[in-house]
Assembly symmetry: C2
Homo-oligomer: 225 residues x 2
Amino acid sequence: MPDAADPAPMNAPSRRKFRREGEERRRQDLIEATLDCVAEYGLQGATLRTIALRAGVTAGLIRHYFPGKEELLQEAYSALVGRMTEQAKAALVMGDASPRQRLAAFVTANLNAPIIDARVFSLWATFLGRANADLTLAHAHREGYLGFRNEVEAVVAEVLAAEQRRPDASQLRHHAIAINAIIDGLWIEGCLAGEMFSPGELAAIGIKAVEAELGLAPLEHDPEK
Amino acid sequence: MPDAADPAPMNAPSRRKFRREGEERRRQDLIEATLDCVAEYGLQGATLRTIALRAGVTAGLIRHYFPGKEELLQEAYSALVGRMTEQAKAALVMGDASPRQRLAAFVTANLNAPIIDARVFSLWATFLGRANADLTLAHAHREGYLGFRNEVEAVVAEVLAAEQRRPDASQLRHHAIAINAIIDGLWIEGCLAGEMFSPGELAAIGIKAVEAELGLAPLEHDPEK
DNA sequence: AGGCTATTTATACACTTGCACAACAAGGCC
DNA sequence: GGCCTTGTTGTGCAAGTGTATAAATAGCCT
């Protein structure tokens, strides 16, 4: 079978063989390669040549799909943020479950793989480190953060409503901010030092902390499940 | 009076005037300039020439104090981590105060300036983004994190002891992890979007969340202060 | 004052980077 | 099959990078 990785069997000026891919596919591959390089080598190590090598193309091709490196990085970050918030929110769509169960499932989902992931954390931190200087990054993050917090606030409202409690807007906001912080903080700890925690431990800590924040009475013996 | 910033008043091959500084002072200045450049331009923008310009010297001098750029960055990160943990722990040394008051003061100190600071966050995120690949960075962070968490755990133990409660080691550890996450999460929110919160709001949220985590009964009307 | 030494400057160099552009060929269309 | 579009390659270039090293001078010692 043909081996594409054959460097130069002939001394003739042989050109590299290639295949034409669809535009969407190539853009996707380039963005993924960019994220890989940023995660592994940082922004400084993510050069056009390294990215192209990872994507299996040559550097010149990048300029055919992106105006410049800047735009490639921005699109890569957008893709990352989109994937992260999408995954996080997906844990909330559970058909038949009590609000409290949904909240617990949400916390659990955010404190286990694949959301707890060293590569994603590396990307998150690397890009966010530039948020001060790059308004585009700052804006993209702000959007994602507020979206996430609003989701949290909505579930909190449901949970408290189910408990016959009527928090005002300010209390609701504070609960959402605190719970968001709990999840973020535990997420960071898990990503940076996952091996320090036993499986499920972070999620257990998170659920207890969140329920304490909301003043929910602890369940006695898990009545039905 | 003599102006040191005069570029070249003569067409003669004039050399730049300079002053000899003490070794410690120069190293300190170079490290500070490095942190400034990393915070503003990221790791890729922190070039030797930019750093030297910021420090008011020429690029070649850096090699006189540091073996290479790598070592300069590592020392800069060590200095940053040292300063951060030092500041954070400093909030715990209060002579006459109840454990609960000390805990509240600790949370408050960590959720206000100068610990809530966009520049420091930028540095923290930028360096941590490389922790996956750079074992030196990972180790330095791990040390700082565990030190911080142990401080938290010690105060938590005091607070609970004052409340006649006897948590076991596992519970204590979980409390420390959760409280650490709360502080970290709120710290990030404050650094990234400080203007979204009114002054003292984050600290108030943090204190309430921490006390809820520990199951402390809320104070009624602040009895004495 | 005059020399000595170590700090500091300035220049050189090999290498990498992002970008521009010309040559080329893959694959659809007639 | 033969052509034509355009995705793709390869090369070149100017700017910038970290490092090496020689030249200069600031400030102390006597």
